[in-house]
């Protein structure tokens, strides 16, 4: 990342503080940026991400919407089409099920249907994932759906630094971008550069270099994978951990290069395993020139084939954890698959 001298100072911020800082920076620099969403004003957002922004920017720019996800998303699309740059927060990404029409048929396709004559620079913020005891309708990880939709960009930052830099990149993008934020990450702290910077959309990040196997992980799973990799190192297994970061476009080069080197691939993600993002990563590698370098089957560790259950132990068991990642990585390293 390229930041100027005066901006290289970094501070420790939480993931949600980093997002808030990005929004505030953008709103200060560009009067067309507005925020929309349910209870993002005085309530501060269900996860307190917008917090006090309404006090700083006023209710005309931090707009509480009625509980109308389809209409709200559509208003954001219409506003983006005509001069504003809205950041629309779904209170939970599950509620985007109500707005698929506007996201998929309108936002994603308008530029194309109009032959390039229109632009829809809208950002949808999508709090996602399980682990909060909120059960089946408030815990989904639906990012794979949107990866399947040309016209959208879909990102999933896993650190505070990226949460800020990728959101600023999303705002600078002339096309609609969905940002999937794992709810359990909001309180995670990390170093965040001050000032304005963008982290490019479409680039994965190698978070740990390794030579025996590649673990591609997304969102919160990056941290679990890193923990597993640390333990694997103690066992003499060198795992490379790649943070996917961008679902659409996906970083073909970084992933394929890593697998060419290690010959083994484990993909870790929270969404339901089948038809999830792991399927695309696996298939991409299996049709790439890394195929000939594969020494073992490609393993996916995804969410259970079930809705997220309420009971906390079941809920934990429904998605990959450090121990299950470790077990899968060991099986892969030892070629017990």
């Amino acid at each position: 990342m390229d930041v100027t001298a005066q901006e290289t100072s970094t501070r420790t911020l939480s993931y949600s503080e980093a997002i808030r800082e990005a929004m505030a920076l953008a709103m200060e620099a560009d009067p067309t940026v507005i925020l929309m969403g349910e209870d993002i004003g005085v309530y501060g957002g269900a996860f307190q991400v917008t917090l006090d922004l309404v006090d700083r920017f006023g209710p005309d720019r931090v707009m509480d919407t009625p509980i109308s996800e389809l209409g709200g998303a559509g208003v954001a699309v219409g506003a983006a089409l005509t001069g504003l740059k809205p950041i629309f927060e779904f209170q939970f990404s599950d509620f985007a099920t109500l707005a698929m029409e506007q996201i998929v048929n309108q936002a994603a396709k308008l530029r194309y249907m109009l032959g390039g004559e229109a632009s829809v620079p809208v950002v949808f913020r999508m709090p996602a994932g399980s682990g909060t005891g909120a059960a089946a309708q408030h815990s989904q990880s639906l990012e794979a759906w949107f990866g399947h939709v040309p016209g959208l960009k879909v990102i999933q930052p896993s650190t505070p630094e990226d949460a800020k830099g990728m959101l600023l990149a999303a705002l600078a993008d002339p096309d609609p971008v969905l940002v999937f934020e794992h709810k359990l990450l909001y309180k995670m702290k990390g170093e965040v550069p001050a000032g304005y910077y963008t982290t490019p959309i479409g680039k994965a990040a190698v978070r740990r270099a390794g030579s025996d196997l590649t673990i591609v992980a997304a969102s919160i799973m990056v941290h679990r994978a890193l923990e597993a990799a640390e333990q694997l190192a103690g066992e003499g297994v060198s795992a490379e951990v790649i943070d996917l970061r961008s679902i659409r476009p996906i970083d073909h080069e970084t992933i394929v290069a890593s697998v060419r080197k290690t010959g083994r691939l484990l993909i870790v993600y929270e969404g339901v395993k089948s038809y999830g993002i792991g399927a695309e990563i696996s298939a991409m590698v299996a049709e790439s020139d890394a195929f000939d370098f594969l020494d073992a089957p490609i393993l996916r560790l995804g969410g259970a084939e079930a809705p997220i259950p309420y009971n906390p132990d079941l809920e934990r068991a429904a998605v990959p954890q450090v121990d299950t990642i470790l077990a899968a990585a060991r099986r892969l390293a030892r070629r017990e698959v």
């Binding site: 349910e38 209870d39 004003g41 005085v42 309530y43 501060g44 269900a46 996860f47 307190q48 509480d64 009625p66 509980i67 109308s68 996800e69 389809l70 209409g71 599950d94 509620f95 109500l98 909060t132 005891g133 909120a134 059960a135 089946a136 309708q137 408030h138 259970a304 084939e305 079930a306 809705p307 259950p309 309420y310 009971n311 906390p312 132990d313 079941l314 068991a317 429904a318």
Partner: protein, 332 residues
């Protein structure tokens, strides 16, 4: 029936046994939610929950004349509806504690609490999610020639969802036996009705579907019972749906994450002074349905049911950890 009976509708319409059961259920709702809240505070329950303390009259009065054959659909603030429809607090606690003995076998929790046996088709985590489902239940009754009605509970916030519009319209054009009950507690989370809804009274929206709409004091048991009674009668007579708006108030925050920045202490206190349980109990005593001692006994019975319910829940077994995918599909 004497034309000079000036007693409140509920008193003159329902038997003392029904009225006492209603009072008991109101107490049960209150004590159940306090118990759940404490259990949450003590870390025995995870997740979040939406308490309906202060709204008990709306749930219980609406359901007073329903049988198990009648259905309800509920929303995220659904404990009251569940108890009002006849659920057992022990199995409700078991659900909150994530146990296999819970109504949802530990898979659902507070936001999906249901008791299909007593006709409760379930709370719903999706605002407005239950509205079309209620219309579907009413369609079943009509097509299958059954006489049951469906009561559909939802909040003021839900009235701005497209699902509200589509559901009310279909219920009306097909003349279905469903009663839409909007529990208007002034806020959808932090957003007041004034800021979210382009009409003064939500019941006015009934006109857009050519159905009767009425607004009542939702903390007045009898007023709610009367309005819903007429709506149910209309539904059972094959005359179609109605919209009843119960004006009420939740004493607690929206959920566990609420800083209460959108409303004043004074407002909360003013509403707490209008406690629907105290009011209903006083009315029952005033009209001789029960005396102080009986009232105390009912209140104490509720306390004891709740205590026993928590015991039952704590003592129950959790689902087997290997059964994450059980109940996804019908078992063969």
């Amino acid at each position: 029936m004497s034309t000079t009976d000036n007693r409140p509708f509920a008193i003159r319409t329902y038997s003392p046994a029904q009225l006492k059961q209603a009072l008991k259920r109101m107490y049960l709702v209150r004590r159940f939610e306090e118990g759940a809240e404490q259990s949450y505070m003590r870390g025995l329950i995870h997740g979040t929950m939406h308490l309906s303390i202060g709204q008990e009259a709306s749930a219980v009065a609406s359901c007073i004349e329903l049988t198990d054959a009648d259905k309800i659909t509920s929303n995220h603030r659904g404990h009251g509806h569940c108890i009002a429809k006849g659920a057992d607090v022990a199995r409700m606690f078991a659900e909150f504690f994530g146990k296999e003995t819970g109504y949802c076998h530990g898979r659902g929790g507070s936001m999906h609490i249901a008791d299909v046996q007593t006709g409760n088709l379930g709370a719903n985590g999706i605002v407005g999610g239950g509205l079309p489902i209620a219309v579907g239940a009413a369609l079943s009754a009509k097509r299958l020639g059954r006489k049951d009605v469906t009561l559909c509970f939802f909040g003021d916030g839900a009235n701005n969802e497209g699902a509200f519009h589509e559901a009310l319209n279909m219920a009306a054009i097909w003349t279905l036996p469903v009663v839409f009950i909007c529990e208007n507690n002034k806020y959808g989370m932090s957003t007041s009705v004034e800021r979210s809804t382009a009409v003064r009274r939500i019941s006015e929206r009934a006109a857009a579907y050519s159905m009767p709409g009425v607004t009542v004091d939702g903390n007045d048991f009898s007023a709610v019972a009367e309005a819903v009674h007429h709506a149910i009668a209309r539904a059972r007579a094959g005359e179609g749906p109605s919209l009843v708006e119960n004006l009420t108030y939740r004493w607690r925050g929206h959920s566990k994450s609420d800083r209460n920045r959108y409303r004043t202490k004074e407002e909360i206190e003013a509403w707490m002074a209008r406690d629907p349980i105290a009011r209903f109990q006083a009315e029952l005593i005033a009209h001789g349905v029960l005396d102080e001692a009986e009232a105390i006994a009912i209140a104490e019975a509720a306390v004891s049911d709740v205590e026993q319910g928590i015991e039952f829940a704590r003592g129950s077994a959790a689902p087997a950890i290997g059964e994450v995918t059980r109940y996804v599909y019908a078992e063969a």
